[in-house]
């Protein structure tokens, strides 16, 4: 945890080990449950579904027996952008409904400020933002199961993964009550990280050497947070969005798929799945 000018600066981030991810979708279910994400009776149109965490299925496009698959869970990248706060979405929002918190590295979304212009959705290269095309309608009785710490969103506003910010607030309150100066690593964990049965998702403070993410990722903050670990990468590094979300894979073809390459002969995968629930159905 960095301390400058009396304030503590953390940079919460996530690393997902793609060698461990089985594509089970527990992270998606946990996220939906934790964050009161609305759904419709007919979820066929995935382009209008809200899934803060989405699992992609990637393929190396080689014929049997060289076929290889990889599941890639993708929430919001919480991009730092240039000049610490010039994330693609933040710089374009006309009403400051989204902001980069320098003290945590989290990109917030204020639902009561958002007026639904969707400019941030267009700006986001990861398509990590979702619009409420409808008002949420919970099946009778289910409203009792909603998380009281997370406000549901009405139609006409944009929402996205918040790194379970409400859990950070709870953790801060708890640490304050306990008289702790620091929040313990396990005190603030995202729902997806806790739910993952394979332990593929690691969440924590990238700037805190005591947090496991720090040793896994080894971010070089002089190089915009780029990882010193050759297995670890971020999506679309060339765009210089400086995401706080990292991936780890021992497979070269997976790492190659993290960014666009200038060589046209490189095979471009086309078979993907937006949501692995689709596969089950």
């Amino acid at each position: 945890m960095e301390k400058t000018d009396g304030k503590s600066y953390q940079k919460f981030g996530m690393v997902i080990d793609l060698d461990k991810c089985t594509g089970c979708g527990s992270c998606m279910v946990a996220c939906m449950s934790e964050n009161n994400i609305s759904f419709r009776p007919d979820e066929t149109d995935k382009l209008r579904s809200i899934s803060w965490m989405r699992v992609y299925k990637l393929s190396n496009q080689k014929p049997f027996p060289q076929t290889d698959l990889c599941y890639l869970p993708m929430p919001c990248m919480h991009c730092e952008g240039a000049d610490s706060g010039h994330s693609p979405c933040i710089s374009v929002c006309p009403v400051t409904a989204t902001d980069y918190d320098k003290s945590t590295g989290i990109v917030s979304q204020i639902y009561t400020r958002c007026f639904g212009c969707r400019y941030c959705m267009v700006a986001c290269p990861y398509q990590a933002r979702y619009f409420n095309w409808w008002d949420p309608v919970w099946p009778k009785g289910m409203e009792k199961m909603l998380n009281p710490d997370v406000s549901p969103r009405m139609r006409g506003v944009v929402e996205k993964c918040s790194f379970c910010y409400h859990r950070l607030q709870s953790a801060r309150d708890k640490a304050h009550l306990q008289g702790r100066p620091e929040i313990p690593e396990q005190s603030y964990q995202t729902a997806c990280a806790q739910a993952c049965p394979a332990g593929a998702i690691t969440f924590g403070d990238l700037k805190n050497a005591n947090h496991s993410i720090s040793s896994l990722v080894k971010p070089d903050f002089n190089q915009g947070g780029k990882s010193k670990n050759p297995k670890v990468f971020r999506l679309l590094e060339k765009l210089d969005t400086k995401p706080s979300l990292y991936y780890s894979s021992s497979k070269q073809w997976v790492r190659d798929m993290s960014d666009n390459k200038l060589r046209e002969e490189k095979p471009q995968p086309t078979i993907t799945m937006q949501n692995s629930r689709e596969r089950r159905n």
Binding site: V95, G116, L262, Q268
Partner: protein, 410 residues
């Protein structure tokens, strides 16, 4: 209602005939209003927009309408600041077209946002670094100015002329028109440009992203330039359509010729700049993001293929530009009007490409292209400006002295 004809000397058709001819347009407007109410009451799920197509038909329509409404500011600039006084015979009409275009754009914006009642946030909680904020501020003020610019024409209604206050109001507003026109030009430069800046600053979207000058991407200047080129063409086209419907000559040929020539030079210089910008983007900017420029035009060749580039730059850029700058081209009636139409199409294509192709083109290597077709509600509401425009022009032409030289020319 009996038409109070401007100066009582120019004949107009009977009211029955007038409203009967407007009936199809009124039906179209009613359809649009029905769709509009559906969208406001039921929400944006009435459209075919989705999480990939956050911007779609409406935003394209907004950008295109505002570009085509650029005739108001550019004609004003030419009339009041460059001394082209002969354009006074079309300036009223150009301003009216501007009023229609900008009011339509604001209406479509009110439909497009998810929470229209929160529109005031954009002023109260303005993010000054966002291009959309700039657009909102400039658009709002410019819309007020356009209405002020239209006031003298409105005050010339014979019934209003009988009321001294309105008579004097029209005269005094006209006297200060240079000031309002000047502010209008200043604001237009910025909001037309900011609309281009909106796409140009998207560094997460390599198709749209452009480098530029200081905080302004090159698309900022290109949008203003193209609006200045296409706006007068649109004004000319609508004037010609009004002539055809009314069966009267309304604008002197020399004025049309002047405006067409100026448009021609604007489009030719614009398209050269646009070509240079496209080449720079294709060879420098896009490769930095890992894209070979051909990818943008080959991955979805039917809807976003090379044809867009050829159509926008060559067919709707160089060709009409060359026609309009040549005297022979302008004096060949059919060729001239084809050129005017092509300029308008070119600007619409440019806005389409920068909005639709930007959102359609996936950035992540493993994302896929998504197809979009607007819903009937989107189409109906997008046609509201057309129907409203026809009605407003028809009513203005019928009751006001929209074309000062109408009497002399007929």
């Amino acid at each position: 209602m009996k038409a109070v004809i401007p100066s009582g000397e120019i004949p107009r058709c009977s009211s029955r005939h007038f409203y009967l001819r407007l009936l199809p347009v009124l039906i179209l407007l009613a359809w649009g209003i029905y769709a509009m109410l559906l969208v406001w009451i039921k929400g944006l799920n009435q459209t075919n927009m989705n999480n990939t197509y956050g911007f779609a038909l409406w935003i394209w329509a907004d950008l295109a309408i505002i570009a085509l409404g650029g005739g108001a500011f550019f004609t004003g600039l030419l009339t009041y600041f460059f001394g082209k006084t002969e354009l006074r015979s079309i300036i009223n009409f150009a301003v009216l077209v501007g009023v229609i275009c900008y009011s339509s754009a604001l209406l479509i914006l009110a439909l497009d946002v998810g929470q229209p009642l929160r529109f005031w946030f954009i002023y109260w909680h303005a993010n000054v670094h966002s291009m959309l904020t700039e657009v909102a501020f400039c658009l709002t003020v410019y819309f007020v100015i356009l209405n002020i610019e239209y006031l003298p024409a409105l005050m010339e209604h014979p019934k209003l002329q009988q009321i001294p206050f309105f008579k004097n109001l029209g005269r005094n507003t006209h006297a200060v028109m240079g000031l309002f026109a000047g502010i209008g030009v200043f604001l237009s430069f910025f909001h037309q440009g900011s609309l281009g800046g909106m796409t140009g600053v998207l560094y997460g979207r390599p198709f749209a992203y452009r480098e530029g000058l200081l905080i302004w991407p090159w698309t900022f200047f290109l949008f203003t330039w193209s609006a200045a080129a296409a706006g007068p063409c649109f004004t000319l086209l609508l004037a010609r359509l009004t002539e055809m419907v009314s069966g009267k000559k309304l604008v002197p040929g020399v004025v049309k010729d002047l405006l067409a020539k100026i448009s021609g030079w604007m489009i030719i210089t614009y398209i050269v700049a646009k070509t240079a910008d496209t080449i720079f983007w294709a060879t420098n900017t896009a490769p930095k993001a890992g894209f070979v420029w051909t990818r943008f035009y080959t991955e979805s060749p039917l809807y976003h293929g090379y044809w867009i580039l050829v159509a926008e730059i060559l067919i709707c850029g160089f060709i009409p530009g060359l026609i309009l700058i040549s005297k022979r081209g302008r004096h060949h009636k059919r060729l001239c009007w084809i050129a005017v139409l092509l300029v308008i199409c070119g600007v619409c294509l440019n806005r389409w490409s920068l909005i639709m192709q930007t959102v359609a083109m996936p950035v992540l290597p493993f994302e896929k292209w998504v197809f979009y077709l607007p819903s009937w509600q989107e189409i109906a509401t997008t046609l509201i400006p057309v129907s409203l425009g026809i009605i407003i022009i028809a009513l203005s032409y019928r009751h006001l002295k929209l074309f000062p030289q109408e009497k002399e020319l007929n």
